[in-house]
Symmetry: C2
Subunit: 763 residues, 2 copies
């Protein structure tokens, strides 16, 4: 419907006007590109009809101002960005024309032998115009430069401090594979621990751990074998492969960003292509690539036609080579195939949730965008099984009063931007389909913000009707804004009974739940009884097929037949297995309503699935917590990650102020207490200046530092305020434990202990 709606506008309205409207209607390109081609993927596979992606220009989001010293400003609304972009572009065209006119004037003056002073004045005007033009050009491309500079600062810090490392670096690496180095690994481990605490423990979920190696039959049932593909083109001479949509996207973006002479018609066309990217068939993509003369980026050779490439890593199980297997593209299937056992484990009661944390794999054609698009990643998935007739949640009240940025379908369609909505209102007004879905949206919000995600740059975006699978009841993505745009990090979908039905059909094992009635219920049922003797006489060898067709009639058709037989005595009846119609007479079948007693209701449960891309959440967290501040001398910018203690890779560093055996012994004593208390920490006994040592741990996001400057008491410094208190040696580990584990706030510590003013000891 929405696609049709958009196409009407494009056909019937002035194109420029239409583009403006497109901006109003929607937001940023990225969320579609991401949501449909992200590491978590299941929407791509499981969605029947891909939505039309209406998009702002990448240009526009590149206008986001990102001061290097601090975080992004809260995101501008899409329409404002669009206006800025368009007005700049118009100014540029004006200025371009003015430069051209002035150039012509100068040439005319020269040709006409005008006096030198006059020519000089004209040249001066020309130069001034050129400067103004350059300035507008800079503004147009400047946004993305700032954003990229910010990203580069984060990524440089992350790589230098080994938060992550390109895998197999000494062998020149493999695209799309990354190692977490020590601090990154600790952050990941903390995020996963908190996930387990926040979801599995809190909700008594049934956690399972299934293998990555998966036989084909399972992924055939799930749809991955047939539909988990991207369109690929090959360099016709070298055989190098590219994602067809990436090449087209790059071409359009490059044109829009760098070619400042584009006509507004061309701008509209390219933006339209970007918007439609995900809807193009192989043929349409191929045609566009030909039309724009897109060639292989490195060799400039021509490209093959696009064709689908399955994104699963294939392998073979066992030695025979006859059992095809894949590395799982998601962890969810491991839960679905175990439904029967898990339901039994839960005492045959609904609702219950199963959860799994594990590696998933995706053989990207050409991975890009660092940690966001990788070939192997950690997923944490929940499958909450629920009676489709009762999607209430007993703990819903605990989250109902949360208020956060939501971006419902209607707001997207009517050109509004994401707004703060009370979760209770979203559920009661039916914006969010049901309580359980609402409960998980609330829990995901709490999870992400407690990790340190900036709540102003976190929104819950509802899938558009045609973005969802036909079977899905509702679907919301937790999107986090980072330098790449709005990134889908968690998908929260009500997938109805689809997955259990698919595996039940394929395996032949019923995956069902029962509701036992307190009292047996009387149920009226339609009973169709073919009279075999009559049918045998009439249809002889075909009797069986007619009987089966009669028995298989849906209720409505049977009631129609009953009415027709009663009024007319006979009726035409199509028997598909015979490929023809036959005449059924009144004597050949009885159709009657009968009342039966039923003791239970048997049904396929619905599943509500929150699915977390752990690597993406961590990367966004890195960007949200990164900032720089000037060193004391003011001669350099120092990097800081303001991780909450929960996430910080190390909770505390211990420094002897100077290299001195007594201080080192105290430091070791404190270290031992910290270890006993389970607080990860590091001793730094290098002779480096204390300021440099603070800077070094700030850059790792270590929230507290204990400096040993006497044998009786030490100072504890908080990372972001740089405030220090003085604490007895014996109490130091306990204070750090309390404050890192959230049993005490820093404010409380600050008001309890004597302050220590930083002199030469601090930065």
């Amino acid at each position: 419907m929405f696609q049709w709606f958009c196409m009407c506008f494009i056909d019937e309205m002035n194109v420029a006007c239409c583009i403006t409207l497109l901006y109003c209607v929607v937001f940023s390109t990225e969320h579609f590109l991401w949501s449909l081609r992200n590491g978590m993927l299941k929407h791509f596979v499981r969605v029947r009809a891909i939505a039309i992606a209406i998009s702002s220009s990448p240009k526009i989001s590149s206008q986001l101002s990102i001061p290097l010293t601090l975080t992004f400003t809260p995101s501008l609304s899409s329409s404002t960005m669009a206006a800025t972009d368009d007005s700049l572009r118009k100014s540029l065209a004006d200025k371009h024309a003015a430069v051209e006119a002035q150039g012509n004037a100068v040439r005319a003056l020269k040709a006409g032998g005008a006096p030198k002073s006059e020519i000089d004045a004209a040249i001066e005007t020309l130069n001034a115009l050129k400067l103004e033009k350059t300035s507008i050009e800079r503004s147009l491309v400047g946004g993305s430069d700032t954003r990229e500079a910010f990203r580069q600062a984060v990524v440089n810090t992350l790589e230098r401090r080994l938060f992550y490392i390109p895998s197999f670096k000494i062998y020149r690496g493999v695209a799309g594979l990354f190692d977490y180095g020590p601090p990154g690994c600790a952050v990941k481990s903390n995020v996963l621990s908190f996930w387990r605490q926040h979801f599995v423990l809190e909700e008594n979920m049934l956690e399972v751990d299934c293998p990555c190696v998966t036989p084909e039959v399972v992924l055939k049932a799930s749809g991955h074998v047939d539909k988990f593909t991207d369109l690929m083109v090959k360099d016709e001479k070298t055989g190098t492969c590219y994602r067809a949509d990436h090449l087209l996207k790059d071409f359009c973006n490059e044109k829009l960003q760098r070619d400042l002479t584009l006509s507004s018609d061309k701008v509209s066309e390219l933006k339209h292509v970007l918007a439609m990217l995900d809807d193009f068939s192989a043929e349409e993509l191929g045609a566009k690539i030909k039309e724009y003369g897109i060639v292989a980026p490195e060799t400039k050779n021509t490209l093959s036609d696009p064709y689908p490439f399955n994104l699963m890593f294939q392998t073979s199980i066992g030695p025979s080579g006859l059992i095809p297997g894949f590395m799982r593209p998601e962890t969810a299937q491991g839960i679905f195939v175990n439904f029967k056992d898990l339901y039994y484990y839960n005492g045959n009661k609904l609702p219950f949730a199963a959860a799994q944390i594990g590696q998933a794999f995706r053989n990207e054609i050409s991975p890009r965008q660092g940690l966001l698009r990788v070939r192997e990643f950690t997923l944490a998935e929940i499958e909450h099984f629920v009676d489709p007739q009762d999607k209430s949640h007993p703990k819903y009240a605990e989250v109902a009063d949360l208020e956060f940025l939501m971006f419902p379908r209607e707001q997207q369609m009517s050109g509004q931007s994401a707004k703060k909505i009370l979760l209770r209102d979203a559920v009661s007004k039916g914006i969010v389909n049901n309580e359980t879905l609402g409960y998980f949206i609330g829990r995901v919000y709490l999870f992400l913000t407690r990790l340190g995600v900036d709540k102003e740059r976190l929104r819950f975006r509802q899938h558009l009707a045609n973005e969802m699978a036909h079977y899905a009841a509702d679907c919301w993505d937790a999107e986090i804004e980072c330098s790449y745009g709005w990134i889908e990090c968690v998908g929260i979908a009500d997938r109805s009974a689809y997955d259990l039905r698919a595996h039940s059909d394929k395996s032949g094992v019923p995956l069902l739940a029962q509701e036992k009635f307190a009292e047996p219920k009387e149920v009226e049922k339609l009973v169709i009884t073919p009279v075999k003797k009559e049918l045998g006489l009439a249809f002889k060898g075909n009797q069986r097929m007619v009987v089966e067709a009669l028995e298989a009639m849906p209720e409505k058709e049977a009631l129609d037949m009953k009415a027709a037989l009663e009024s007319e005595g006979e009726v035409d009846f199509q028997v598909c297995t015979l490929g023809k119609n036959v005449t059924i007479k009144k004597t050949m079948v009885t159709i009657q309503k009968e009342t039966k007693k039923e003791h239970q209701r048997v049904f396929t449960p619905s599943v509500i699935e929150p699915s977390f891309g752990i690597g993406r959440i961590i990367y966004c967290l890195f960007e949200h917590t990164f900032y720089t501040r000037p060193s004391k001398a003011g001669d350099e910018q120092l990097n800081v990650f303001r991780f909450p203690s929960l996430v910080a890779p190390i909770k505390c560093t211990v420094f002897p102020l100077v290299q001195n055996q007594k201080y080192e012994e105290v430091a070791k004593l404190i270290s031992k207490s910290l270890t006993a208390a389970g607080i990860s920490h590091k001793i730094d006994t290098t002779g480096t200046s204390i300021g440099k040592r603070y800077a070094r741990t700030d850059e790792l996001g270590v929230p507290f530092a204990i400096t040993v400057d006497s044998t009786s008491s030490v100072t504890i410094r908080e990372r972001d305020s740089k405030d220090q208190v003085r604490v007895d040696v014996e109490k130091a580990a306990t204070v750090v434990k309390e404050v890192t584990e959230g049993h005490r706030t820093w404010e409380d510590v600050w008001s309890t202990f004597p302050h220590h003013s930083s002199t030469s000891t601090d930065d």
Copy 2:
């Protein structure tokens, strides 16, 4: 050497005597089969020469008496077992002869027309003899039956309570792939958390997290591409694959166990084959299979010759199909390739350790033995990098006084069994190669016993000289005894500089450490200076090769040449690259000792590698903690896992004594406090009798149960003693937290709170 030693005995001594000696010399078959073909594998790949496996018969270890109600008796010594087995076998042969003789006698009496009473008496004697023979046969096969019954009881409980589930069960599963269900997953997660706490945090290790997908070049350097193989045979008609050694092993075991008519020569031969199994080449294995007429087990078709099958799951990275990749067979390589960055991260200082927890893969030809031999498993590996000239460890003193079962090389060779040895003695006497290796052995002992591994069934077995890789300095396996025998669960190896050198050679990236000298050191160096002019005149076009050969001379050869030139004026010199000798005259080269100042020493670090097969440890833990006890009525045996709180999947259950709203509210209140305290627990509000509910959680190994039988106070029950105390409602969660987290013992709780005597409320 050892191989030669054994072969001599076999050649020169009476075979029966030799076999007895073989029993004396060594222990059980299993540890070789396991250590060489286990899930952790690296020894197999990295070992140059596989050791001769001297073995007792599997028969023998099957004599282990395993009372179903409790644990194994401490293992009998191998020689005792051998004696029992041999004497039973001899009795059986005697009895067999007696039965035959008596049978002949009966036939003779019948043929001779003897009186019926006489014949009847003879038949009675014959029947008595037959009964005695059957009884001996039962004794011979009985041991393995008991052991298998015990295992079956454990495995049934594990599967019924979803500790694990055969993966993809609804699709009839895939051999060698298992899911951890909810309690198994919780146990695994607890084991890994404790591993992180005990090793990573305690030692400030650098934890990393690398991908499973690994490009070929990395595994080429490590040796896995070429040598990570098992020998395989194929059914010549159906193509079904089998492990060649498994078929031969099964044939020998089956013969030994079931064919009671075997001559003692044949018994010796079969046992010898079992002992040699791992040393057979493809040709030798093939010859034995032909000799014994072994055919495909199901079809009885003939088998192909054995050939090597690489055990890595192969895949292809990226869309071109041109970058071969594998699923990693171990996590260690991810650490080695990152050495340079990690060394830098550690401030360019040694020693330091890196650690990794992750999935590893092994495409078994035909997986067996449940959770011990699987196709995908979790490894936890440590690579401790150390200066080869200083393998002391600063925390060694903390473990030096531990005493536990060790099985040094010498004891194995001289026929003794594992003995308790003080770690300090083992290191000081040089039994354990160095302090760091000793330190890790001690830490692994603490780790395993704190998890709940029975210290009487845990031993550290040293690799025999020829069982180790040529480059390894020393290697010890932590072996845990379970119903499958002694299972290698942790390997602790000093692998010298091998791995870093291999990757350095292959990648061309130096993987080195430096020791900066406090003062520059004067080093005497031999300097060889070829006199190019003279050499040019003499050798013309060959000059370069002679120059290079002179410069490459080892010190000793150069000194010899210097002496010869001084005494004789000229000398014969072999130039390999020319393939001939040339005459070097005194004028052609100067060889002199010179003194140089050096500021640092550059070297490749040694690595000490503790490598943990997490799944194997967990399985052994299941067996060690499992026991049964009679129900109160005495009508059935109830299963219990006596997990320590650290490991228990759930720490506590909360039961309202009867279904009653007030009690349920109290239970919910306590549940909330437990959640807040981070204690995993479960509420059971079913109306089932309290005894049954206790039995249900005992079977999950839940250490404590809170029963709500009033609104002011509750009872807390300890699993193994079944003792109960009465505690105020408000205190219940805190008490359980303290006792499960080890801050308080149950004994302390028992002596603090009023006792509650179990009446009808208990089992």
